[in-house]
Symmetry: C2
């Protein structure tokens, strides 16, 4: 196990009705709030009204930034920063899924930065201070509700970049699974794929002696496999929605990766796809993942994939390692198919023309991946296998 | 899944050499420290010297409270409170295992309480404010390094009681597995049994729909089973020591029990044994656990025990549920035997005479246990089966 520093300061208020804690918690940070949300689903399901009522009753002033995009844009961040500065906002409250939360995080970070907000996306070391952030989660997927990262897109430049800062961890997050009852099937599927992908990024590491972390990763994967399809078929199944929601937070808050070598691989590949084609992040991940697994399977990685097959997919352990590994990869693919996610890039409108460019960009900081680092040629091969 | 509020504020500095962060971290809280430790093993293994050197180099004044007992006593707590008050201590630094940490916690809590320290053990609601606490852990067992609880004994009254407060969570804990290299075999065994017992207390709950938490509990159990014996045979095996150490913290910091009904059962029973006979806590737990499992096995609990057998002990799932459950319980007992832990109360000097009295005390607040609550008659039967 590698050395690590653990700090997960976000408080979580989990369960039905927990949105009631909002006013009291907000008041610990001030009385002026920027409410950040997306396309308006929170108005349809009543969440917006619940929140606004709580704020008004408690004399908390608020301003609004709505229309945050599924791949949130730097232009929207800039608007938010302006509102915060004009009105001396005390806390940025994101109400939505990962995109909304990521947007709120970068608004909060850019608030104290004198230059343009895009600078702190390109270079996180420019973040020195961050406005307090809180979230009310409406989608189990990115885990942004409990981590320190944010991903923002500059559409004009085809750039989708990740940034982060310890103070970007939300001060508190309200996780009420009933607010995900109205999440449509395709988004439930993409969110489940995203949680699984975060777990894979931690699980398929070169660090072999983090036994405990590996078993916990398998716990998250089994949870996704057990409940992803169920949440699609029975959207108001509280057991399924609550397990997926809590899995989304634990998959990426550090628990699975503390003590392990980290170098994400499928995420940086996918970020190029959605930077260029604005596709759904979870769909891109689900398309690439089995092809990436297949591509890096070799004598050095087969043990890990066999472990994955035995512990996650219940494949009997007494068999040829390669057979177990290939079965595990096939089962992963089948699972994504069972969620109704496309299996080919061509199905989401991606052709051959920009693959080379995207492959180069995905390794802009060097090789990606921990279990088996890959370069731009490898990425290109995986893209081509995914067409 | 039940509603829950999650907050685990303790920072953890994990790994070899991490004790170097101590002076810098302490300075965030002040410059006067009470150093609390036990029988002196930290002087033999060099840890005491490392810490004192760091404090002196950084002009941090310190006072000492040594000789904390394995079942820490209220008399020792009182001494610590006195030193803190006389010297206006800013932070209580526990260096040791759970006993030392528990003692430090209650000193820190009693510091601000005007009456006698025993009052806040008997009645945690009397704790209003707590001095900052930090720990350097030397034994993987109680998890006190990352939780809010403490257990203190009044030897004269044969009382061993648990108390707790959110601010009793250590501000930070240094977890360097190399400091557990010198832990003797019997203490390594008892510590492993303690971690497993904390996990069982969360796992065997009446809440059935916390799938994720149950899979994570199994991750901790598998870690203990994989490394307990190994750490005894190869005391300087870093992989074994680090996995056990991190498991000790995660088993009881809330991760496994958030969202589940909680009512501990084997711990309250064991606390009576060590209150009356001053036996090693982990040994008492290991003796009682298989007998408690056997006792509560019935048509309502067999599913859970079968799940335990399949997921933790790798027993094939296609078989009679009772056979799987009984095999799982037998394997649990065999595992404790393989750790060299006694299997009978008579082996640790406990006879029949006080069983009735201890049984009554263990249910002083009502029935204990979540999966199947038991009363004093049941406890007595389990005690008798353990003789």
């Amino acid at each position: 196990m590698l050395n690590f520093d653990y700090s997960i300061p976000t408080k979580v208020f989990f369960g039905k009705g927990k949105v009631s804690v909002l006013p009291e918690q907000i008041k610990e940070y001030g009385s002026k709030v920027l409410l950040v949300y997306g396309g308006g689903s929170i108005k349809r399901n009543g969440l917006y009204d619940d929140i606004v009522k709580g704020l008004k009753t408690n004399s908390i002033e608020f301003w609004e930034l709505s229309g945050v995009e599924p791949n949130p844009r730097i232009t929207t961040v800039r608007k938010g920063v302006e509102i915060c500065r004009e009105n001396k906002i005390d806390l940025v409250l994101a109400v939505g899924g990962g995109s909304t939360i990521d947007c709120a995080k970068v608004i909060a970070g850019a608030f104290y930065y004198e230059g343009d907000a895009w600078d702190i996306v390109k270079n996180p070391s420019k973040i020195s201070k961050v406005l307090p952030i809180a979230t009310v989660l409406t989608l189990a997927a990115t885990g942004s509700e409990m981590d320190v990262f944010a991903v923002i897109t500059d559409v004009d430049a085809n750039e989708k970049l990740g940034t982060g800062h310890p103070d970007m961890a939300p001060r508190f997050s309200v996780l009420d699974p009933t607010y995900t009852f109205s999440v449509p099937q395709n988004q439930t599927a993409a969110g489940t794929a995203d949680i699984m992908s975060h777990t894979f990024e931690a699980y398929f590491s070169s660090t072999k002696e983090a036994f405990l972390q590996d078993r916990m990763a398998e716990a998250i994967l089994k949870t996704c496999i057990n409940y992803g399809r169920k949440a699609m078929e029975e959207p108001e199944n509280y057991e399924a929605r609550s397990n997926l929601m809590w899995a989304s937070s634990l998959a990426i808050n550090g628990l699975l990766s503390f003590g392990k070598d980290k170098n994400w691989v499928v995420h940086p590949m996918e970020h190029e796809l959605s930077a260029y084609y604005d596709i759904t992040h979870g769909v891109g991940l689900a398309i690439l993942t089995p092809n990436w697994m297949k591509y890096i399977l070799d004598d050095n990685t087969v043990e890990k994939f066999a472990e994955f097959g035995v512990n996650v997919w219940d494949i009997p352990r007494d068999g040829d390692k390669y057979v177990i590994a290939n079965t595990a990869i096939a089962k992963t693919r089948e699972y994504f198919v069972s969620l109704g996610i496309p299996t080919k890039l061509s199905e989401v409108g991606i052709g051959e023309d920009k693959l080379e460019e995207m492959a180069k960009k995905s390794v802009r900081h060097g090789k990606i991946g921990s279990l088996k680092p890959i370069d731009h040629e490898d990425v290109l091969n995986i893209f081509k296998a995914s067409l």
